[in-house]
């Protein structure tokens, strides 16, 4: 069909068709279960040394932002917050504190998954094609025992 269309419309027609084919290809998961868009959007996360790159990028960015405090005059209602790098420091301390508290709190508060009785499986309305999805078994019936 495309061969017989006049050359003037041919290019745009082929362009549209190619675009459609690209979209189609980009939205079809391949056999290994990898979505082509993932390469486009997040391929960079698979780079070698991504950890080190991110670490140093953020380290440098943080330093720049703190140094920017020297240049930019912030006006805060609370004057102590105007000190250099206050927000960065507070953010760093808060974040680290929260994460590190996870260790003792986890030990203190974490219990077995079935602590309150049967934890139950996933809800009924998950993907019906999902392998190993539990059928309506004893979990699915609403027994009225208390």
């Amino acid at each position: 069909m495309t061969d017989e269309t006049p050359p003037g419309r041919d290019t745009s027609g082929r362009f549209v068709k190619r675009a459609a084919e690209t979209v189609n290809a980009m939205s079809r998961t391949n056999d290994e279960g990898i979505h082509p868009m993932s390469k486009v959007l997040f391929g960079w996360t698979e780079a070698k040394n991504i950890g080190a790159i991110l670490f140093w990028t953020l380290a440098i960015l943080s330093i720049i932002l703190v140094l920017a405090d020297l240049v930019i005059d912030r006006h805060e209602y609370l004057h102590f917050a105007e000190s250099i790098g206050f927000f960065g420091l507070w953010g760093f301390i808060s974040f680290s504190f929260v994460v590190l508290m996870g260790w003792p709190l986890g030990r203190l508060l974490r219990r077995d998954e079935n602590y309150y009785g049967d934890a139950g499986g996933p809800p009924d309305d998950i993907d019906p094609d999902l392998e190993g999805k539990p059928l309506h078994g004893p979990n699915g019936t609403h027994g009225g025992h208390h």
């Binding site: 939205s27 998961t29 279960g33 990898i34 868009m37 959007l41 997040f42 950890g51 670490f55 953020l58 380290a59 943080s62 932002l65 703190v66 920017a68 930019i72 912030r74 209602y77 609370l78 917050a81 790098g85 927000f87 960065g88 420091l89 507070w90 953010g91 760093f92 808060s94 974040f95 680290s96 929260v98 994460v99 590190l100 508290m101 996870g102 709190l105 986890g106 508060l109 974490r110 219990r111 077995d112 998954e113 079935n114 602590y115 309150y116 009785g117 049967d118 934890a119 499986g121 996933p122 809800p123 009924d124 309305d125 998950i126 993907d127 999902l130 979990n139 699915g140 019936t141 609403h142």
Partner: protein, 581 residues
């Protein structure tokens, strides 16, 4: 427009559509209704006149006002309608009459409650939200969700009953049901209403119904639930208790404590439930401050929260739909299969972290400025601490453990198109209201122009160099801390397990105590009687042997116990009357 349309509360429209949808078997018709109803609702709301009682009714001597829009509730209602629309799109891949109908009716009830013009109407729809929403939890169909829904219903009804109790008191004493704000909590009516609202807003120690039920709801159910109940309570507080000092501290505590739970929680939907707590805390704190700037911040943040929290719940719902789990230790590396979901989840995560150019930045900075301007240093520091916490659990933990991190090896399909569409629309709105006003009255200025105090809002500038710098510093160093701790191996690993929270009190201790009391009670009466019976049997051994066949023993015990109680009560009555005459 004809009066029957101008008088039509959009919430009622949704309730009617929802109830009707439950009886419609044709999937396309039903789903069209659930989508068209909120769109019509938005049109109705946009054209309605503010500050007028559109529909009133006099029943039992009560003057009820069913539909009243003003600058405070307009934005809540609009957000609820948008959420209802997005939820309906998100649910398109399912075919469940009960869920479609109840989700729409639940949204409608929340909207109708928002536009209620008096306390009694507020109460009626307050209860309907409780009853309709429970089906969204039940829909999950698991045994755990069944019991969670019972607990949820119990707590919600308790809130409603308390509210009614408080309303009855207020009405009895003032003879008015009007929605005028209370000035103090000293009178019992105000206090009871305060507690009733507090339950729905998930105040600390009253919060656990939320973490208990939302993560056990169905895929669609959790998304629907996340939008309405707590934000309705926020509206109720903004209406009835603005500037109530107690709220400042309650809100501040509410922002801080969920952060710690969210770090160790394994179920990512439960992490989001804690995150809801934390965000509502910001709004409650701002309502407590009560200045025009603070109230603007609370309302704006509620609007933004409905969008980005809904978006995050949607992305986790998509993960749950495709993989069957939201447990962090079972997930990871999903960006390979679900790149679009990952992208939208990141938009939600960045929005909730208040990154400049995203929605929470323009809303939360109002709250923070308002708190700082009161000079309450500790509260302000708590809110800043919680902001870093938000970044931890919603900004990093959710996307990192679901989509990046350790590859779980799960290779699944991308989320269904309707889910992606709903997430895309929510992402668009999250970014759109966070942008600077490149065109006048677009971007954040659009949101600001709809706030309860538009004049004050217009004079507030979120995009100053100082604000941007402060926020970027906070975020950058917090993310740096994450990477640092991750590299040092100090980040706690995700482990499966249940995290104890205050629900332990009623799910273990309380339940046990009630069972215990029941057992004891059914034993104590006979036991006391048994002791009495044994004593008497010693004294009158021969007589008992003569007159009481063995089979009569239990009956004797029974009547004996009762008789004993009779004697006790007689003695009590005699004692009291002798002592007091």
């Amino acid at each position: 427009m004809p009066t029957f349309l101008t008088d039509l509360n959009p919430g009622w429209l949704l309730i009617i559509a929802g109830v009707a949808a439950m009886f419609i078997k044709q999937r396309t018709v039903r789903q069209a209704m659930t989508i068209i109803a909120p769109i019509l609702g938005i049109l109705l709301l946009a054209t309605t006149q503010h500050g007028v009682d559109h529909l009133t009714y006099n029943a039992l001597g009560l003057e009820l006002s069913f539909y009243r829009v003003d600058s405070l509730n307009f934005l809540f209602g609009l957000a609820f309608l948008i959420a209802a629309l997005l939820n309906a799109i998100y649910a398109l891949h399912t075919d469940n009459r009960m869920q479609d109908g109840m989700a729409t009716a639940y949204a409608g009830a929340a909207i109708a409650a928002t536009f209620a013009g008096d306390l009694m109407t507020l109460f009626i729809f307050w209860e309907i939200t409780a009853i309709t929403s429970v089906f969204l939890i039940l829909r999950a169909g698991t045994r755990a969700s069944y019991f969670a829904s019972l607990r949820y219903l119990g707590v919600q009804i308790l809130s409603g009953v308390l509210l009614l109790d408080g309303i009855a008191y207020v009405w009895h004493h003032t003879g008015s049901l009007s929605l005028t704000a209370f000035t103090s909590l000293n009178e019992p009516g105000a206090l009871i209403i305060f507690i009733a609202f507090g339950i729905k807003a998930a105040f600390p120690f009253l919060h656990n119904w939320l973490q208990d039920s939302y993560p056990k709801a169905s895929v669609v159910g959790a998304v629907v639930l996340s939008a309405f109940t707590t934000k309705l309570a926020v509206y109720a507080f903004a209406r009835m208790f603005p500037g109530q000092d107690e709220l400042i501290w309650i809100g501040a505590i509410m922002t801080v404590f969920p952060v710690f739970f969210a770090v160790i929680e394994n179920d990512l939907r439960r992490v989001l439930a804690y995150s809801t707590n934390n965000q509502v805390g910001f709004m409650i704190c701002a309502i407590g401050v009560g200045t025009p700037l603070a109230l603007n911040g609370a309302v704006a943040h509620a609007f933004a929260d409905i969008l980005f929290k809904g978006l995050l719940f949607m992305s986790m719902g998509a993960v749950l739909y495709r993989t069957g789990t939201t447990k962090a230790n079972e997930l990871g590396g999903l960006y390979r299969s679900m790149p679009w979901t990952t992208l939208f989840c990141l938009v939600g995560a960045i929005s909730i972290s208040a990154m400049p150019l995203f929605s929470a930045f323009v809303t939360k900075s109002m709250i923070l400025s308002a708190v700082a301007s009161t000079g309450m240093v500790v509260v302000w520091l708590m809110l800043m601490f919680a902001s870093a916490g938000v970044l931890e659990h919603s900004g990093i933990k959710i996307p990192y453990f679901a989509f990046f991190g350790h590859d779980s090896g799960k290779r699944v399909k991308e989320a269904p198109f309707n889910m992606l569409l709903a997430m895309g629309m929510a992402s668009f709105l999250c970014i759109a209201i966070g942008l600077p006003a490149f065109l006048p009255s677009f971007g954040y200025e659009w949101l600001y122009s709809l706030l309860p105090y538009p004049v004050e809002a217009a004079s507030y500038q979120p995009f100053t160099l100082g604000h941007i710098l402060a926020q970027l510093q906070l975020l950058a160093l917090a993310v740096f801390a994450f990477i640092l701790l991750q590299r040092l191996g100090l980040y706690p690993p995700e482990k499966p397990g249940v995290i104890l929270d205050t629900d332990w009190l009623y799910r273990k201790v309380g339940y046990g105590a009630v069972r215990w009391m029941d057992t004891i009670w059914s034993k104590v009466g006979p036991a006391i009687a048994a002791i009495a019976g044994r004593l008497s049997s010693r004294a009158y051994d021969n007589m008992v042997a003569t007159f009481s066949p063995r089979g009569m023993l239990s009956r004797n015990l029974f009547s004996g116990g009762m008789t004993l109680w009779t004697a006790v009560i007689l003695a009590l009555v005699l004692l009291v009357s002798f002592l007091t005459s």
